[in-house]
Symmetry: C2
Subunit: 204 residues, 2 copies
């Protein structure tokens, strides 16, 4: 039995080793350079070995996607300390934007790249997306219950809030704010999110 346990442990360790190498490559050199051959070279195995541990490259990126969501959730979870739901909403949106701008590769992995979702189609749900969405949705619901946001289907407002910050983040990451002066864009991005939070409150 010891042999079986040791082999299973070694298998999990090598799997995690592969993922750590993939993440390191991705963070250092971006998506293009995170190839199966480069990952294999980094862990000093042959490219074929990787297919003993993962179905395909999309499978690897789904795991990286999940790892990235854990980082994001930890980052955002500190907002749970904030009692005022409107203040928490504002803080959530500002921290979300800061995370996206500071970690464009991780953000890409979670919310823009197709590959993780291609692999996900073979699984049941998207727990990672759920957790982070619920953080937002619970805040919106509480603000409505306290009369701080005019009542409406919470999914409508939550989707709008998430889409606003996702839109700001992804247009920034994909360099689609070129029509504005470069040095003005970043503060504008944060201010836009802030201003809409303010107006959400005033619309009682």
């Amino acid at each position: 039995m010891g042999i079986t346990e040791r082999k299973e442990r070694e298998k999990q360790e090598l799997k995690q080793h592969i993922l750590d190498a993939a993440m390191a490559l991705f963070m250092e050199q971006g998506y293009e350079k995170t190839s199966i051959r480069n990952i294999a070279e980094r862990i000093e195995y042959s490219p074929g070995t990787i297919y003993l541990y993962f179905k395909d490259k999309a499978d690897i990126f789904l795991e990286l996607h999940t790892m990235a969501f854990e980082v994001l959730f930890k980052h955002l979870a500190v907002t749970k300390e904030i009692k005022d739901p409107m203040e928490r909403l504002r803080s959530l949106s500002q921290m979300y934007l800061k995370f996206a701008i500071d970690n464009p590769d991780l953000y890409d992995l979670m919310f823009i790249l197709r590959e993780p979702m291609e692999a996900l189609d073979h699984h049941c749900g998207w727990e990672e997306g759920f957790k982070n969405y619920d953080l937002l949705r619970d805040t919106v619901l509480e603000a409505m219950e306290k009369g701080m946001i005019k009542k409406e289907d919470p999914d409508v407002i939550s989707l709008a809030a998430w889409s606003l910050v996702h839109g700001l983040a992804s247009l920034w990451i994909r360099k689609r704010f070129k029509m504005l002066p470069e040095e003005a864009v970043k503060p504008l991005v944060f201010k836009a999110a802030d201003e809409i939070c303010s107006r959400l409150k005033e619309g009682i």
Copy 2:
């Protein structure tokens, strides 16, 4: 001189032929299948020929990007007929979303893919983005001047409005709304944009 003019005309015609083939491939089979070899096969030339007309693949995608923006602009320009700026804003956002959802590949080309912007970095500006952004910004400015939207830097509100609909569109296209029931998502997307437009008005 006739020879020179004919040769120049033939050059432009082949260039457009290449672009039409690329666009057809892209619309039919997506980005992955729109390779230089596949484009070459479609126009019945060698892959090397394409490099006599375009610097590289990113250059081709920049042209496709521009072609896509012309389609979008035509689509949105009909809103100029609407006199009420708030009604125009609402219409702009709904039509933008409908366009994105009906044409996910064209949308990808304009607002998500990196490649066109990589080629663009060698050029001066992004006229395409400007034209469409100005349509929105002019509408927001007029609504402010008429007291329909509370006064603020128009770029703040314009960025927020654009980011909201871009966020809705791109999260939908990249399948990041999996935490919601599939049949509920589409109406929710349109409703979220509509609801925020309404609330922008109420925040006088």
